[in-house]
Amino acid sequence: MTTVTQTGKLPVERRGGFSRKISGIIEPYLYVSPALVLIIAVMLMPLILGLSYTFRDIRILNPFSGGFVGTAHFEALISDQAFLGALANTAWWTFGSLLFQFSLGLILALLLNRQFLGRRLVQALVFLPWAVPTFLSGLNWAWMFNPVVGPLPHWMTSLGLMAEPFNILSDPDLAMWGPIIANIWFGIPFFAITMLAALQSIPKELYEAASIDGATTRQQFISITLPFLAPTIAITLMLRTIWIANFADLIVVMTNGGPADSTQIVASYIFTQAFRRLDFGYASAIAAVLLVLLLAYALSVIALRRAMTHADS
């Protein structure tokens, strides 16, 4: 009945469980190895390779390129007006999209958080935009903004937002709003889903206790809902900011950076440099700068969160 032990051969004075401890240490890494291999091979190695391009002159069309140029790219970057403009546009693009995606997503989550007739159906429908391929929705929205074939300019005119129907995508001052609106349409489901999940994990008794204590709906929101949501909000905001900053598809498809570079963001600028001008060295340098900026952003958010949680406790 007793199972065979493997310890018959080991000396009596052995302490603890040595080989078990070793296999215990290795075990997690076995589980994690497929993912690690994939990420290192497909993302990290190319990243390092790509970063090396920043210091080299790689122009696909020029067979003589490939030499080491040191920091020449970065020096060019500092005086590159298009790049600096793209930096400003990136900020506009990112925070414009984020503000509306987040607030509308939160409102939607709050609406979905209570039981009502048809909720299941509504929930399914309202999350659909996330499943639509982004370039397709980009094309679609571009189509909708075009006064010849789309309804939006006409509606905006009747609402008084425009003097007469025109395509905002060809107006340098307004063009950015096109992709932003398309991005809002696409991004609301992400926030709605994550916020809804967080809302549903708040224990109902907290609200019941608060309403017994006499708190109004608004007070309950401020003192219960928001603090509980805070960690989720922080993480999703940070993740999403980074994704949006890197998200060039909609812009490339709707405006291609124009008119007159007014919608060019850093990510789409990289695309232009890399694939229109086929200058990989310069494109990699731009990407490296973007990466550093985003890293700095992420680190500062993490540091801020640490400081805030420490201040609480």
Binding site: M1, T7, F18, R20
Partner: protein, 371 residues
């Protein structure tokens, strides 16, 4: 069935030591209860026996074989978890037969084993149900059934009754005890409830801060606690403690001088010095209410708790709260003064510094079952 030996077992998580050198011998067929407050290391020790935790150093043997290197599945033990850990997507019958299926036991044998155990535990009608369709008590019994079907060398229980209401707990205590008598299985049972320990154990292992404080039968632990921790942890209502200093009054008598000057007569303690700082320990049932001041000390009544058959009287003596357990109906009121006396033969003297009990000189030597 098998014996279990634990030799100098230690457990640390990184720099934190959780168990410091545990030595314990469990005989074949014994029902051992590990009892102590949260964080004392009892669950960790149990999990080390099961193989769910690594042993930092020391040896654990089951049936004479050192099992340190073995995975849980190779140790031939069964465990009942606090949360029962029933497989939610399997029926009761499937839950109970899982281990046997893994061993490729033929189907008829499995069916026989399950129906036998189900009958003992009253689960026959529930065999096809899923865990979520069962009550807490039923789930608990399925968890036990799953363990019993395996006929393991030893049973391990990790606070299995904690999630049940008080009445169910009482019921299950007796059932587990009866099962143990019937199966004669070596069992290691972890709980923080001293009533469970007292009613179920062949021997109790009292643990605190990762060390075994005392090992002994329930009666031994109750009557002769090794130190203040064990004395205060076991027994409900808890023992009363009063600080004082030891006084040798003549050759064969001694007393403890309380902080208010009163002297409580005690049996002379073997290793006590005159003026040694000591703590008097008296269980509520060993204090009596007497009629006058000649034989008793004055105490103020703070609260009277009638419990039907008995009464618990809270008084203040020497500035400290004392609880008295009496079968007499009180004829005094709150805020009045009564006189109390301590049963000399039954009270304990503890050294205040080491907290160890100082046994009376008359007690036979070698009675300390502990460290």
């Amino acid at each position: 069935m098998a014996s279990i030996q634990i030799a100098n077992a230690r457990k640390s998580y990184g720099a934190v030591d959780v168990l410091h050198g545990i030595d314990l011998d469990i005989s074949d067929g014994e029902f051992i209860v590990l009892v102590g407050p949260s964080g004392c290391g009892k669950s960790t020790l149990l999990r080390m026996i099961a193989g769910l935790e690594d042993i930092t150093s020391g040896d654990i043997s089951i049936a004479g074989n050192v099992v340190n290197e073995l995975q849980p599945k190779d140790r031939d033990i069964a465990m009942v978890f606090q949360s029962y850990a029933l497989y939610p997507h399997m029926s009761v019958a499937e839950n109970m037969s899982y281990a046997l299926t893994l061993r490729k036991t033929p189907r008829e044998k499995i069916a026989d084993a399950i129906s036998g155990v189900a009958e003992i535990l009253g689960l026959t009608a529930l065999l096809e149900r899923r865990p979520k369709a069962l009550s807490g008590g039923q789930r608990q019994r399925v968890a036990m059934g799953r363990a019993i079907v395996r006929k393991p060398q030893a049973f391990l229980f990790d606070e299995p009754l904690s999630n049940l209401d008080a009445r169910l707990r009482e019921q299950m205590r007796t059932e587990i005890r009866k099962l143990h008598r019937r199966l004669g299985a070596t069992s290691v049972y972890v709980t923080h409830d001293q009533i469970e320990a007292m009613t179920m154990a062949d021997r109790i292992v009292a643990m605190h801060d990762g060390i075994i404080q005392q090992v002994g039968s329930p009666v031994e632990i109750y009557d002769r606690p090794a130190n203040i921790f064990v004395a205060s942890f076991i027994g409900s209502p808890a023992m009363n403690f009063l600080e004082g200093s030891y006084e040798q009054v003549g050759e064969n008598s001694a007393g403890i001088r309380l902080t208010d000057g009163a002297l409580v007569p005690v049996l002379p303690a073997r290793d006590a010095q005159n003026n040694q700082a000591v703590t008097l320990g008296a269980r509520p049932e060993h204090i009596t209410i007497v009629s006058d001041g000649k034989n008793g000390l004055p105490a103020k009544v703070e609260l009277i708790e009638p419990m039907g058959l008995s009464t618990l009287v809270h008084v203040t003596l020497a500035g400290k709260p004392i609880k008295i357990f009496t079968m007499d109906r009180p004829d005094y009121a709150v805020d009045s003064f009564i006189h109390i006396a301590f049963d000399m033969a039954k009270v304990h003297v503890f050294d205040s510094a080491s907290e160890k009990r100082l046994p009376p000189a008359s007690e036979p030597h070698g009675d300390h079952a502990g460290q």
